[in-house]
């Protein structure tokens, strides 16, 4: 996946106003099967997979014993005894190793990351494009975070109503050998709908505006779900999972810091790693920052002490030795 095709701003706008097509085949995919599949995955993630109906998906974190984040995942229940776990490309080896070690004996699993491709069709025109591709009505009406088997453009695939842009859209899992066929068919169907290929650059600005966390930036093995604002995917009172005891302790102790959204009020662009300052003291660090092409402001995320996390709090961002004003704002920065 290239950083850009026609330019980050142009691609970003295409996804917000029309549609964009992403080749995100670099993502990792693990299939877990058998009668124990659901229970076994449930033990590895913080959200409650046991209640996940066939054809539904959920977002979750996967934590270590200490309650810190190994990765964020989407878990799809494809069939009664078949679960698909999608992880970040950069974490594939780590997560495959973690699953191999902890799924349990007799639970068949397979890392299909190389055999599978993943295309994402995102934007307000996604449904119209799918219709022109020949998708029947039930696929067009597939609800958010649902997944189903489909055949489009002669390609067998799993079709999901998920994405990473803050827009409506689909993600399409197919065999790697079919990816080019599917990519071309989607681009052709999208031609009259303003569909454009989109690269990593716009993927990052789109997800940031929607306040979707990026592993390695906003969340990592140094952060736990509560301070990252992901407490909603931690189900402490459902089944046991790796990290549950630690997360109970962390929750009982209360948060010390929190991931907040901010926008620059002074002239400057915050970037990953820049210090956040208040009253001349370094109080945190920017985890993500860039111009927000749709919101029209320079925005960012970063961890700050709880006392500085309220919306409206004035912060400074140290940009190459110069402190530039910023203010804590509510997130997401953009909502469709």
């Amino acid at each position: 996946m290239p950083v850009q095709y026609a330019g980050i701003k142009k691609e970003h706008e295409a996804v917000r106003k029309r549609a964009g097509l992403f080749d995100v085949s670099h993502m990792g995919e693990i299939i877990v099967e058998g009668p124990q599949a659901v229970a076994a995955v449930d033990r590895l993630v913080t959200n409650d997979v046991s209640k996940l109906d066939v054809g539904r998906a959920l977002y979750t974190t996967c934590c270590n014993e200490a309650g810190y984040i190994l990765d964020d995942l989407i878990v799809y229940r494809l069939e009664e005894e078949k679960v698909l776990v999608v992880c970040n490309a950069s974490n594939r080896d780590k997560i495959v190793g973690h699953f191999a070690k902890n799924l349990g004996l007799g639970v068949p699993w397979n890392d299909v990351s190389d055999a599978w491709a993943l295309l994402a069709l995102q934007g307000p025109n996604a449904v119209a494009i799918m219709r022109d591709l020949g998708a029947p009505q039930d696929l067009l009406e597939l609800p958010y975070f649902h997944v189903t088997r489909a055949n489009l453009a002669g390609v067998e695939l799993w079709l999901a109503r998920t994405g990473y842009t803050g827009e409506d859209g689909y993600e399409l899992f197919c065999a790697s050998d079919d990816a080019v066929t599917l990519w071309k068919a989607l681009l052709a169907a999208g031609e009259t709908h303003g569909l454009e290929p989109v690269g990593l650059g716009a993927r990052d600005t789109l997800r940031l505006e929607a306040r979707l966390a990026l592993y390695g930036n906003d969340i990592s093995e140094e952060t736990h779900p509560f301070e990252a604002g992901l407490g909603w995917v931690v189900k402490l009172n459902a089944h046991d999972f790796i990290g549950r005891d630690a997360l109970r302790t962390i929750k009982a102790a209360g948060l010390k810091r929190k991931l907040v959204g901010f926008e620059m009020t002074g002239r400057g662009i915050a970037r990953h790693g820049y210090p956040i300052v208040a009253d001349g003291n370094r109080v945190g660090e920017v985890t993500s920052g860039s111009p927000g092409p749709t919101v029209g402001r320079n925005i960012g995320l970063g961890y700050v002490p709880l006392a500085l996390a309220k919306v409206g709090t004035k912060l400074g961002i140290e940009i190459r030795g110069k402190v530039v004003d910023a203010v804590v704002v509510s997130t997401p920065f953009y909502k469709r």
Binding site: V3, Q4, G7, G201, G268, P291, N298
Partner: protein, 131 residues
């Protein structure tokens, strides 16, 4: 397809261009630099009257994705800065040799101009870079 660069300009290895205009040097970045940067969103430049040093950083240019430093092709005093870039940084993308210019410098040492590349040399230099 090889891009040809304006023949009336001098170039640096850091991808700035310099145009001699009477007693000042007008400075901008080349279309190669623009292509590497992508959409320019902010240009940080010195104030008129400040001194800049040849091959030293005089400002920063930011695109959606990255920050790059701007280096002065010659030493001297900044005479003008392109105020239009404050509200319209995209001018750098639209016309890097025209409305997207950055600053003008009154050079303190005319001899430094000798160290710059002409268009043919710059194109040759680009050929030695990756990608």
């Amino acid at each position: 397809m090889p891009v040809t660069y304006p023949r009336d300009l001098q170039y640096t290895r850091d991808h700035e261009w310099a145009r001699i205009e009477d007693d000042v040097i007008r400075v901008g970045i080349t279309s190669y630099a623009v292509e590497q940067l992508g959409d320019v969103t902010l240009v940080d430049m010195p104030a008129p009257g400040e001194d800049v040093q040849a091959h030293e950083r005089f400002g920063d240019i930011e695109s959606v994705k990255t920050v790059s430093e701007l280096f002065a092709p010659v030493s001297g005093e900044v005479v003008e800065v392109n105020a239009d870039l404050e509200s319209s940084p995209e001018l750098v993308n639209e016309g890097p040799y025209k409305e997207g210019w950055l600053i003008t410098i009154r050079p303190s040492d005319q001899g430094e101009l000798e160290g710059l590349m002409d268009a043919a040399k710059y194109e040759e230099y680009l050929g030695t870079l990756d990608g």
